[in-house]
């Protein structure tokens, strides 16, 4: 929980990095000396709070690339049905990917052309591995 100190913000003894300023009156400051504490300066008052491990280790959000087909589960590639440069329709079988005692079918998420088949037959892959890349259509 945040603890409130009644003293207005003085000259900060620690060096602070600004984490962000959601509005004019509030500022989030991360002390350089200890990455585990967060100080929130608001309207001349200062709040101190600890950060959780989960917060510090979080991965920043990245927009997913719709032209990449990724594995959803750890498993291995059994058979590949497509080649580089091949045109496919949405729902066409791209490969058989064995995981959890099942010959899973990886199918095309869209109509398009295969830019590259990134996985190889026999490979054992983790979750989130790149299987197939689609070619980005030229901008009209």
């Amino acid at each position: 929980m945040a603890e409130k100190t009644t003293n207005p913000v003085q000259q900060n003894p620690e060096e602070l990095t600004t984490l962000g300023q959601p509005n004019d009156s509030t500022e989030f400051l991360l002390p350089a000396t200890s990455k585990k504490k967060l100080r929130i300066a608001e309207e001349g008052h200062e709040y101190k709070t600890y950060l959780t491990k989960k917060f510090l280790e979080r991965k920043p959000w990245k927009a997913p690339d719709p032209f990449q087909v990724l594995s959803h589960i750890p498993g291995s590639v059994i058979e590949i049905f497509v080649k580089n440069g091949q045109k496919v329709k949405k729902g066409d079988k791209l490969m058989i990917y064995e995981a959890m005692k099942m010959m899973n079918i990886v199918s095309a998420p869209m109509d398009g052309t295969i830019k590259e088949v990134n996985a190889k037959v026999g490979e054992t892959l983790p979750k989130g591995a790149l299987l197939v890349t689609f070619r980005k259509p030229a901008k009209k």
Binding site: P60, A63, H72, I73, M100, K101, M102, M103, N104, I105
Partner: protein, 515 residues
């Protein structure tokens, strides 16, 4: 003009004035955003001519910041009662054309009034959300309004069906009313739900994201699991609501109005749908379609945690809730999200007297660091809790794989399933043949001249002995091994037998589920 007709024409004038909402300009703007005005939405949702509006002449009571001079028609929300499929419902719709549908104290009081009506009359409640959020000028009174709504959502939960329709922004604290209700409907490009918007996220964390990727309809259907039904248009959304309500009872003391009994369509052949080879995937929804009247299966949360399928169908006219592992996605494993999804649905069916049919074909819980650290123990426990606690008729059909902890969790006899049937293709065992043979025959395999050949031999041996339904049948853990073609017949007779089912739970205030 007589005095009476004068009074009546005054009423008409006042009504007309109040019903114009935010005025022509604001309504035109609403339509330009691809959205319908609030009363139009209600008109389209309800059976024709059944809507009766209340509290049309409500005035807001803010006296600060110049608000006293403002006239807000109906205080930005329309409430009333009507009928859907001929059955009574209570409804409210926030009117974005009036002060951005912002929630002030009288606005909230209208909503809580219709919520109280719905509870008293034991009829479903439908809320259409389209609001910029709290009315800042009303300060803490606005927050009080939200709190009163949340409290009633919780009070009504499990007594009457509560449905939230997100047809515009629904941000900040306002999101928690939909989250507390049973079903959330969203429409592509119109619905937006989030606690903090893209601007705050950018300024605090430096992460750049647009509104649609943060809290659009698709995100809530595919990623967060907050929403249950996705529609391309408002009309499609209203049709989905009508369809959902047709499966549900008006309250927890009754049963759903039965549909007209019908046979499944011939094109769904249950025997041909499921491959005998347990490593071959198939769409389990086609098995459900081969079991239900008219092959009409109404799926819930179709786009989230696709490795488990939940939804409604009818068997001989009676509503049944289906839960089925989906081998087409993630091999049909149980994981955090699929356990969450199924557990909540089980509790829903149990609360509203809907029998549950479970179709089982899954290799177990998904292994992996991310699952363990995401709390698969805690989430998986929800499934066990929900099945164990449910007292409605519970029927399980094991189609193929039933391994390990997953076998127990998927409404096994041990969690008090009323009927457990297995197909001859069922494999009920503590784990898959590969893993089991490696452990049990570890020494023999290691010491063999050709370990690989010995491993294969032992896997085959294990398969032969244990990967079948007869070991479990010999212990009475399953009631019958059945011909797949007779599955509907077996489910039907189980439903008939268990119509008056009465199984008591020990007296308690409430249990402590692994929330």
């Amino acid at each position: 003009m007589s005095l009476l007709s004068k009074k009546i024409s005054e009423l008409q004038e006042r009504t007309q004035h109040a019903q114009q909402g935010g005025g022509d300009k604001a309504i035109a703007k609403q339509i330009a955003m691809g959205k319908l005005p609030a009363r139009e939405r209600i008109r389209k949702l309800l059976d024709e001519g059944t809507f009766y509006e209340y509290d049309l002449f409500i005035q807001h009571d803010a006296r600060e910041f110049g608000m006293e001079k403002k006239d807000l028609a109906g205080d930005g929300v329309v409430i009333g009662t009507g009928k859907i499929n001929g059955q009574p419902v209570a409804v409210y719709a926030q009117d974005f054309t009036v002060a951005g549908g912002s929630l002030g104290s009288m606005h909230a009081r209208k909503i809580t009034k219709i919520m109280d009506y719905a509870l008293r009359m034991r009829i479903p409640l439908i809320g259409i959300n389209d609001s910029g959020g709290a009315r800042i000028q009303e300060g803490v009174n606005s927050l009080a309004g939200y709190g009163e709504i949340f409290f009633r959502n919780t009070l009504n939960s499990g007594v009457i069906p509560q449905i939230s329709v997100i047809l515009g922004p629904c941000a900040g604290g306002a999101v928690y009313s939909p989250a507390l209700t049973d079903y959330v409907f969203v429409v592509d490009k119109i619905s937006k739900m989030f606690i903090t918007g893209p601007e705050v996220i950018k300024s605090v964390l430096g992460e750049e994201i647009d509104m649609e990727s943060l809290g659009g309809a698709r995100v809530h259907c595919e990623t967060t699991g907050n929403a249950h039904f996705f529609a391309e248009s408002e009309d499609e959304c209203f049709a989905q609501i009508k369809k959902l309500l047709s499966y549900l009872p008006a309250n927890n003391q009754t049963k759903a109005v039965p549909g007209k009994p019908a046979l499944p369509l011939k094109k769904y052949n249950i025997v041909k749908t499921v491959p005998a080879d347990p490593t071959e995937p198939y769409d389990v929804r086609n098995v459900i379609r081969a079991l239900v009247d008219n092959s009409d299966f109404f799926e819930v949360q179709e786009m989230w945690a696709k490795n488990i399928v939940i939804g409604y169908g009818r068997i001989e006219g009676r509503t049944v809730g289906f839960i089925a592992n989906q081998p087409l996605y993630l091999a049909g494993v149980l994981d955090c999200d699929s356990s969450d999804k199924a557990a909540r649905f089980i509790r829903y069916c149990d609360a509203f007297n809907i029998p549950i049919v479970t179709l089982e074909d899954m290799p177990g819980y998904l292994p992996g660091v991310d699952q363990e650290h995401a709390g698969v123990i805690r989430h998986g426990a929800k499934l066990l809790y929900a099945y164990s606690e449910a007292t409605v008729p519970k029927i399980t059909v094991i189609l193929r794989k039933a391994y390990g902890g997953g076998y127990i969790a998927m409404n096994s006899r041990h969690l008090r399933a009323d009927f457990v049937f297995a197909w001859p293709t069922a494999e009920i065992a503590v784990m898959g043949p590969q893993g089991a043979a490696n452990i049990i025959f570890r020494k023999e395999i290691m010491e063999a001249e050709d370990p690989e050949a010995m491993r294969k031999k032992k896997v085959e041996e294990y398969k032969e002995k244990f990967a079948n339904p007869y070991v479990a049948a010999s212990k009475g853990y399953i009631d019958s091994v059945i011909n797949p073609a007779d599955t509907r017949q077996f489910i039907l007779q189980s439903l008939d037998i268990s119509q008056q089912k009465n199984s008591g739970m020990p007296k308690k205030k409430h249990g402590i589920p692994p929330f």
